[in-house]
């Protein structure tokens, strides 16, 4: 049930997916890994859309060099934990949802427990080793993984339904080298917003998800395109997984 305030708040989007869709958003728990460049727009848009429970994890402190893109954090937050800054902003954006901000480094020992029974994992990480870990948990628990990555003016995004679509390792078997990557804030803005859009579509069963499609954004050309991606039967992460007939968005 929604309060009068919630009915007003979500009025314009309930024109799209009804009170039933809004109810699905409210019941959902989304796990966002990172409160940085991608995590900022993802969490802001999911918070204002009314995702009932958002867990956002990060281990870092806000640094001056983050502020060109990590729009959750303000100048006054420099030196503060990103999780504290994120929790404050997201809760102010929407007081009717639950924000769990956890100051932790996700690793093999804690990933399964941290993710728990989340309805979706948003990949807002900045490195592939952790992404592969998220991929493993997504596969083990059959939780959708909303992937995004950026560099400079370029970005990529895809939605992974374990057992149905290619997993992250099918698409990117080998990680690109680690680097201090160049980036302008609009790029994670665009890709993070696409990830949030995928989450909302998944939960409300709207439209077509980026399933088996890798969206590629070229901000220099202002050109988006997609390449089809397929499961790798010999994939080390999801190779043995049988196809499960699931309809994305249809919640049990």
């Amino acid at each position: 049930m929604f309060s009068q305030r919630e009915l007003e708040r979500y009025k314009r989007q309930m024109m799209l997916f009804g009170e039933e869709g809004q109810e699905r958003l409210k019941k959902a728990h989304i796990f966002i890994t990172g409160a940085g460049g991608l995590g900022s727009p993802v969490s802001i848009y999911l918070a204002v859309a009314g995702i009932g429970t958002i867990t956002i994890i990060d281990m870092d402190v806000v640094d001056q060099t983050n502020l060109n893109r990590q729009i959750l954090h303000y100048d006054r937050d420099i030196g503060r934990k990103k999780t504290a800054s994120a929790e404050e902003k997201l809760q102010e954006l929407n007081p009717d949802i639950i924000i769990n901000a956890i100051d932790v480094k996700i690793d093999e020992s804690n990933a399964i427990n941290l993710i728990g029974n989340a309805d979706g994992i948003v990949d807002a990480m900045d490195n592939y080793p952790t992404r592969y870990l998220l991929n493993d948990v997504a596969i083990a628990k059959k939780i959708p993984l909303f992937h995004g990555g950026i560099r400079g003016f370029y970005g990529q995004a895809t939605t992974i339904i374990p057992g149905t679509t290619p997993c992250l390792k099918c698409i990117f078997p080998k990680a690109p080298p680690k680097e201090v990557f160049p980036v302008v804030g609009v790029t994670p803005g665009i890709i993070g917003t696409i990830q949030a859009n995928e989450v909302i579509k998944y939960l409300t069963d709207s439209g077509e998800l980026l399933l088996g499609r890798l969206f590629i954004w070229d901000g220099l050309q202002s050109h988006g395109e997609e390449i089809c991606v397929e499961r790798n039967p010999a994939c080390k992460a999801c190779g043995g997984m049988t196809t499960k007939k699931t309809i994305p968005g249809k919640k049990k």
Binding site: G34, G36, G37, L38, G39, D123, A124, M125, D126, N127, Y128, G148, G149, I150, R151, G152, Y154, G155, Q156, I171, F172, K174, A175, P176, P177, K178, E179, F181, V183, P188, I216, D218, L220, I227, C228, V229, E230, N232
Partner: protein, 107 residues
């Protein structure tokens, strides 16, 4: 036919026409939608090596010092993945559209 003659190279073999699409940083360094004619039997690795060599920086972005693809490079032919380990024994076919793509890691 006019196009048939055009597609013969100087040894009289019929050449195959392919299109190479580079993405992201590869595109900045090497351009994209490169249409080129190659001799029949040309392998993927050899074609991309030739095209990439036009810019040393572009070449270094795609290949390592030994001339092998960097292991993270994604190769697609007509929307289907080609394993980089197989690229030096995969023959290009007429009309192939080849995509060469670097995954991005930032967040």
């Amino acid at each position: 036919m006019w196009w048939y003659d055009n597609k013969k190279n100087n040894t009289g073999e019929e050449e195959v026409t392919v299109k190479i699409r580079f993405f992201a940083r590869f595109r900045e360094l090497l351009g994209t939608d490169i249409v080129t004619d190659v001799a029949p039997g040309t392998m993927f690795t050899s074609l991309i090596t030739t095209v990439a060599k036009k810019n040393p920086e572009g070449y270094a972005a795609i290949f390592d010092e030994t001339g092998a693809f960097h292991e993270f490079v994604i190769l697609m032919r007509n929307g289907k993945r080609i394993d980089i380990a197989d690229a030096d024994k995969t023959v290009i076919a007429d009309g192939d559209e080849i995509a060469v793509f670097p995954p991005v890691a930032g967040g």
